[in-house]
C-alpha cells in the first residue's frame, strides 16, 4: 500500500514552471500569428484587372507578393515610389511590374532592389497602389 502513494506526486515547482512556460509560449504564438492573419484574409490583386481598369478597383485593399524592381522617385511629403515585379506573373506570360507608393508612415522600412515583400496595398486615386503594410515573408 505504501508504494502506490510514492509514484503519483510531481513536484509543485515543476508544475508551476510548466504552466509558466505554457503561458509564455501561448502568448508568443498568439502574438506572432496576429500579422499573418491580416495578410491571410486580404485578397490578392489580379494584375489583369488592374491593368485593364484600375479605377474600378479604387478603394480596395489587396495583397501582393512582390520583388522590388527599382526606385522611381522619393518625395519628402508623399513617400517613396517603387516599381515592383509581382511574383505571380500574368496568365498570358506578360511581365507584371507595378508602381507602389510607400508612404511616409512606413518610412522605417528599408527597401532595396531585389528584396521580397508581402505587401498590403490599397488602390488610391489615379490607380496608384499605396502600401499599407509590408513584411518580408
Amino acid at each position: 500500500m505504501s508504494r502506490q502513494k510514492k509514484s503519483q506526486g510531481l513536484p509543485p515547482w515543476l508544475i508551476i514552471l510548466l504552466v509558466v512556460l505554457a503561458a509564455a509560449g501561448g502568448f508568443y504564438g498568439l502574438h506572432q500569428n496576429g500579422g499573418d492573419a491580416s495578410l491571410r484574409t486580404t485578397e490578392e490583386l489580379d494584375p489583369a484587372i488592374y491593368y485593364e481598369n484600375a479605377n474600378s478597383l479604387r478603394g480596395n485593399t489587396y495583397k501582393i507578393d512582390a520583388e522590388i524592381d527599382s526606385a522611381l522617385g522619393n518625395s519628402p511629403t508623399k513617400g517613396r515610389l517603387f516599381s515592383v515585379n509581382l511574383r505571380n506573373a500574368a496568365k498570358n506570360g506578360a511581365p507584371v511590374i507595378l508602381p507602389v507608393l510607400v508612404p511616409m508612415e512606413l518610412g522605417n522600412l528599408t527597401i532595396q532592389k531585389g528584396q521580397h515583400y508581402l505587401m498590403k496595398v490599397k488602390v488610391v486615386e489615379d490607380g496608384l497602389l499605396k502600401v499599407e503594410e509590408a513584411r518580408k515573408p
Binding site: 491593368y51 484600375a54 522611381l72 522617385g73 506578360a94 511590374i97 508602381p99 486615386e125 490607380g127
Partner: protein, 752 residues
C-alpha cells in the same frame, strides 16, 4: 430733163465684232488641232494652250459670216420688236429728213410769246372778226383789207396776208374790168339795134320814086337798078351790124374769161393755203372770196375747169415721189488692192441701192442703175480687217424715197394731176372753210391733251399727240404757244428712242438695256415688254453658246469652241461671260506652261499639306521657285525651305528605322518613327512605315499606347504601370522612360 433723185435716209449698220470678239476670233483662228483628251482638266489645259497659241481652223470670212449671222439674227428680232412698237410711228416721223428737221426745230424753238407775235395774233383775230358772218359790211371788209398788209409785217406770217391782199386786189380789178366790158356791151347792143333798124330801112324799096318805069321793059331795068341800089345801101349797115356783134361777143368772152381767171386764182390760193396748213388764212381768204364774188357760186368749178384744161402729156410721163420700204441686207468684202471698185451688191434687187462700197471707203453715194441721177444718204460699216487693204462693208438699208423722172413736162403733168385731185377732193369753198375750222378745233384739243399727258409723265402718248397737232396745225397759235420746256421733253424722248434703235441695231445689249431703262424712267407709258423679252432672249442665246463652248473645251473640241464663241460674240458682243471665258482659257494656257504649272502645283500641294508630293518633285519645284519673279516669290521660297527641312527629318527618321529594323529591333525602329510621327503625323510614307512596324512589335506598341492613353486621361497610376510594362518589354525604350519620368513628376511634383 429726166432724172431720178434717190435719198436713202435710213440705213442700219452692221457693226463689226467688238474687240473682245476679235481677240477671241484671232486666238481661235490660229489654234492648234486638239490632242486626244486624257482627263477633263488636262484637256481643258490643252485647249487653253491651243487657244492661246492659235491654229487656223477656219477662214476669217467663215468667222465673219458666222458672227454676222448671229448678230443679224439677234438684231433683226430686236429691230422687229422695236419697229413693231408704238414708238415707231413717231420716230419714223422724227427721223424723216423732210419733216424731222422742221419738227426738231419746232421742239427747240421757244414759245411764240414775244410782243410781235402777240400783236400778229391780235391782228389776225381782228381780220377774222371783221370778216365773220355777222359783221360783213363794206366798211368791215375794207378795214380787214387794210389790215392785211399790216399783219404781213410779222415774220411768222410769211407774207401770206400780203398775198391774200394782192389776190383780193387783183380780183377787185378784174371785177371793175368786167363791169366796164359789160357796160360797153350794153352800149354796143344799143348801137346794134340802131344798125339793125337802119339795115331794115335800107333794104326797103322806094315806090314813090319819080323815075318809076311805066312800061314793061323799063320795069325790068328799074328792078335791077333798085336791087343794085339796095345792096349799096345795106352793105355798110351790114358791116356795122356785124362789127358790133363781133365786139359784143368778144367782150362777152373776155368777161367770162376774166371772171373765171379771177375765181381760179383765188380758189387756187385758198387751196394752197389749206395745203400749207395755214387754216386761219384759209378762212380769211375764203371770206374775202365770198365778199368779192357775191354771185353765190361757192363751188370749185372754176378750179376744176382750169385743171381740166391743163391736159396731160402722156409721152412725158409723170414725176414720181418714190418711197420704198425694203429691208435690204447688203454685205461685201473688197479684196485688197481693189480700192474704188464697186464691191457692194444689193442682196435684194427689188430695192434700188445707191450705195457703192469700195476698198476701205464706203460712202454710200454713187450712180444708180436706173436712168436718173441719184444721191444716197446713209451709213455703212466699213472695217479694214487685214493688211492687204481689204474691207468689209455691211449695211441693212431701211427705206428709200426720192423723186423720179423730173422734167418740165412731167412736172406740169404732176401739177395737173394734183389740181385734178384737189378739185375732186374738195367740191366747194364751204367745205374747205369747214375743214379748216375743224382742224383748228382738233389741234386745240390735241394741245390740251398733250399738256395733260405731259403732266401725267406719259411722254410717249404726249409726244404722239404733239406730232399729230404739229403736223396738222404747226402755225396755229395754240401750237406756237407751247413752251420750250414742254417741247424739249418730247425731244429728249425722241433722242432716247433713237438711242434705243441704234443700240438695237448695233447689238449692244448693255446700251439697249440702258436705253430701255432710261426711257422707262422718262416715260411712264412706254411699253417695253416685247423689247425686254427680246433682250433677255438674246442674252440667253449668247450665254447658251458660251456654255456650249465650255462643254466643247472640256472635250478638247476647239473647232466647236471657236464656232460657239463667235456666235456668242455675234449675238451679244459685250457679254461679260465672254471675258470670263477668255480669262479662263488664258489661265488654262498659262497653267500649261511647265514653270507656271509647277508654281501652281507647289502652291496647291502646300495648301493641301501634301509636302511629300513636293518632296517627290523637289528638283522641279526648286527650279520653279528659284526662277519665280512674282510678288509671292519670297513666300514660296520660305515655304520650300520649310518643306525641305521637314522632309529631311522625316526621311532621316525613316532611314534610321529601316536600319534598326534590319537588326530585328522592331520596337526600337518603331519608337524612332513614333517620335518623328508625333511631329509630322500627316506624312503618308512615315505613317505607312510606322504602321508596318507596329505589327512587328505589337506588345510593346500596345503597352506604350495604353500608357499614353491613361496618361492623357490623367490616370497616372495606370499610365505608370503601362509605361513600366512597355519598358520591361523594351528596356531601351526612350519613350517609355520619358513617360515614366513624366508621370512620376506628375504624381510627386516634389520628387527628387
Amino acid at each position: 430733163m429726166s432724172g431720178r433723185i434717190t435719198c436713202r435716209f435710213r440705213s442700219i449698220q452692221l457693226s463689226s465684232p467688238t474687240t473682245l470678239a476679235t481677240l477671241v476670233l484671232c486666238a481661235a483662228l490660229h489654234a492648234q488641232s486638239p490632242a486626244a483628251p486624257q482627263d477633263n482638266s488636262q484637256t481643258m489645259r490643252e485647249t487653253g494652250q491651243q487657244y492661246k497659241k492659235g491654229n487656223a481652223l477656219m477662214s476669217a470670212s467663215d468667222n465673219r459670216i458666222m458672227g454676222r449671222e448671229g448678230m443679224e439674227a439677234s438684231n433683226l428680232a430686236l429691230q422687229k420688236s422695236i419697229l413693231n412698237s408704238k414708238i415707231n410711228t413717231f420716230i419714223a416721223f422724227f427721223n424723216n429728213p423732210l419733216a424731222g428737221t422742221q419738227f426738231e426745230q419746232f421742239l427747240n424753238a421757244p414759245a411764240a410769246t414775244s410782243e410781235a407775235a402777240k400783236i400778229y395774233r391780235e391782228r389776225i383775230d381782228k381780220i377774222m372778226d371783221l370778216l365773220s358772218s355777222g359783221n360783213t359790211t363794206k366798211e368791215n371788209q375794207d378795214a380787214a383789207f387794210v389790215l392785211l398788209p399790216k399783219a404781213s409785217e410779222f415774220e411768222s406770217d410769211a407774207n401770206i396776208c400780203t398775198t391774200i391782199h394782192d389776190a383780193v386786189y387783183a380780183a377787185a380789178n378784174s371785177r371793175v374790168e368786167i363791169r366796164k366790158l359789160t357796160e360797153l356791151n350794153e352800149a354796143l347792143e344799143k348801137q346794134r339795134k340802131v344798125a339793125e333798124f337802119n339795115l331794115i330801112q335800107a333794104t326797103r324799096d322806094r315806090p314813090l320814086d319819080a323815075n318809076a318805069p311805066v312800061d314793061k321793059n323799063n320795069v325790068t331795068n328799074n328792078n335791077a337798078n333798085q336791087l343794085l341800089e339796095r345792096q349799096a345801101r345795106t352793105d355798110p349797115a351790114k358791116r356795122e351790124l356785124s362789127s358790133i356783134g363781133q365786139t359784143i361777143e368778144h367782150n362777152k368772152v373776155q368777161i367770162a374769161s376774166s371772171a373765171l381767171q379771177a375765181k381760179f386764182q383765188f380758189q387756187a390760193l385758198i387751196l394752197q393755203l389749206f395745203v400749207q396748213r395755214r387754216y386761219q388764212h384759209v378762212i380769211i381768204a375764203n371770206r374775202f372770196y365770198r365778199a368779192l364774188f357775191d354771185d353765190g357760186d361757192q363751188s370749185l368749178q372754176s378750179f376744176q375747169l382750169m385743171a381740166d384744161k391743163l391736159g396731160y402729156n402722156k409721152s412725158a410721163g409723170q414725176a414720181k415721189i418714190m418711197a420704198q420700204a425694203a429691208p435690204n441686207a447688203t454685205g461685201a468684202t473688197a479684196a485688197g488692192g481693189a480700192r474704188g471698185a464697186n464691191a457692194n451688191a444689193p442682196a435684194n434687187n427689188s430695192a434700188p441701192n445707191a450705195a457703192t462700197g469700195g476698198g476701205a471707203s464706203n460712202s454710200g453715194s454713187g450712180v444708180p442703175a436706173g436712168g436718173g441721177n441719184g444721191a444716197g444718204v446713209g451709213t455703212s460699216a466699213s472695217t479694214s480687217d487685214d493688211d492687204s487693204g481689204g474691207a468689209t462693208a455691211g449695211s441693212l438699208s431701211g427705206m428709200q424715197f426720192g423723186v423720179e423722172n423730173v422734167s418740165v413736162e412731167s412736172l406740169m403733168n404732176a401739177v395737173s394731176s394734183g389740181m385734178k385731185m384737189a378739185s375732186r377732193t374738195f367740191k366747194s369753198l364751204s367745205q374747205l372753210d369747214g375743214l379748216a375750222n375743224e382742224v383748228i378745233r382738233d389741234v386745240n384739243e390735241g394741245v390740251k391733251s398733250y399738256e395733260f399727258l405731259l403732266s401725267q409723265n406719259e411722254i410717249e402718248g404726249a409726244t404722239a399727240q404733239l406730232v399729230s397737232v404739229w403736223s396738222k396745225g404747226q402755225y396755229l397759235p395754240s401750237v406756237q404757244l407751247l413752251t420750250q420746256d414742254q417741247k424739249r421733253r418730247s425731244l429728249k424722248f425722241a433722242q432716247l428712242v433713237n438711242k434705243l434703235i441704234s443700240s438695237g441695231q448695233s447689238g449692244n445689249m448693255d446700251a439697249l438695256t440702258e436705253a430701255v431703262a432710261e426711257i422707262k424712267k422718262v416715260a411712264n407709258d412706254f411699253d417695253d415688254t416685247e423689247i425686254s423679252a427680246n433682250i433677255r432672249a438674246t442674252k440667253m442665246a449668247s450665254s447658251m453658246h458660251i456654255a456650249q463652248a465650255r462643254i466643247a473645251a472640256s472635250k478638247g473640241d476647239l473647232q466647236t469652241v471657236q464656232t460657239e464663241i463667235t456666235r456668242a460674240a455675234g449675238i451679244w458682243p459685250n457679254n461679260p461671260e465672254l471675258q470670263t471665258f477668255s480669262g479662263d482659257m488664258s489661265k488654262l494656257s498659262e497653267q500649261a506652261d511647265p514653270r507656271v504649272r509647277a508654281l501652281s502645283d507647289f502652291d496647291q500641294f502646300y495648301d493641301q499639306k501634301n509636302f511629300r508630293q513636293i518632296f517627290d518633285g523637289i528638283d522641279k519645284y526648286a527650279v520653279a521657285v528659284a526662277t519665280d519673279t512674282s510678288a509671292s516669290a519670297g513666300a514660296r521660297r520660305d515655304k520650300l525651305e520649310k518643306v525641305k527641312a521637314r522632309m529631311q527629318e522625316i526621311e532621316t527618321s525613316i532611314m534610321r528605322a529601316q536600319e534598326i529594323s534590319k537588326r530585328d529591333d522592331y520596337a526600337g525602329a518603331w519608337e524612332g518613327l513614333e517620335m518623328t510621327f508625333q511631329k509630322y503625323p500627316d506624312d503618308m510614307k512615315l505613317s505607312q512605315m510606322r504602321a508596318d512596324l507596329t505589327t512587328q512589335a505589337p506588345d510593346f506598341v500596345h503597352d506604350f499606347r495604353q500608357a499614353k492613353s491613361f496618361e492623357e486621361r490623367k490616370e497616372f497610376g495606370s499610365a505608370l504601370a503601362w509605361y513600366l510594362r512597355s519598358q520591361s518589354r523594351y528596356p531601351l525604350s526612350d519613350l517609355s522612360k520619358q513617360g515614366i519620368q513624366r508621370v512620376v513628376k506628375l504624381i510627386m511634383p516634389d520628387a527628387n
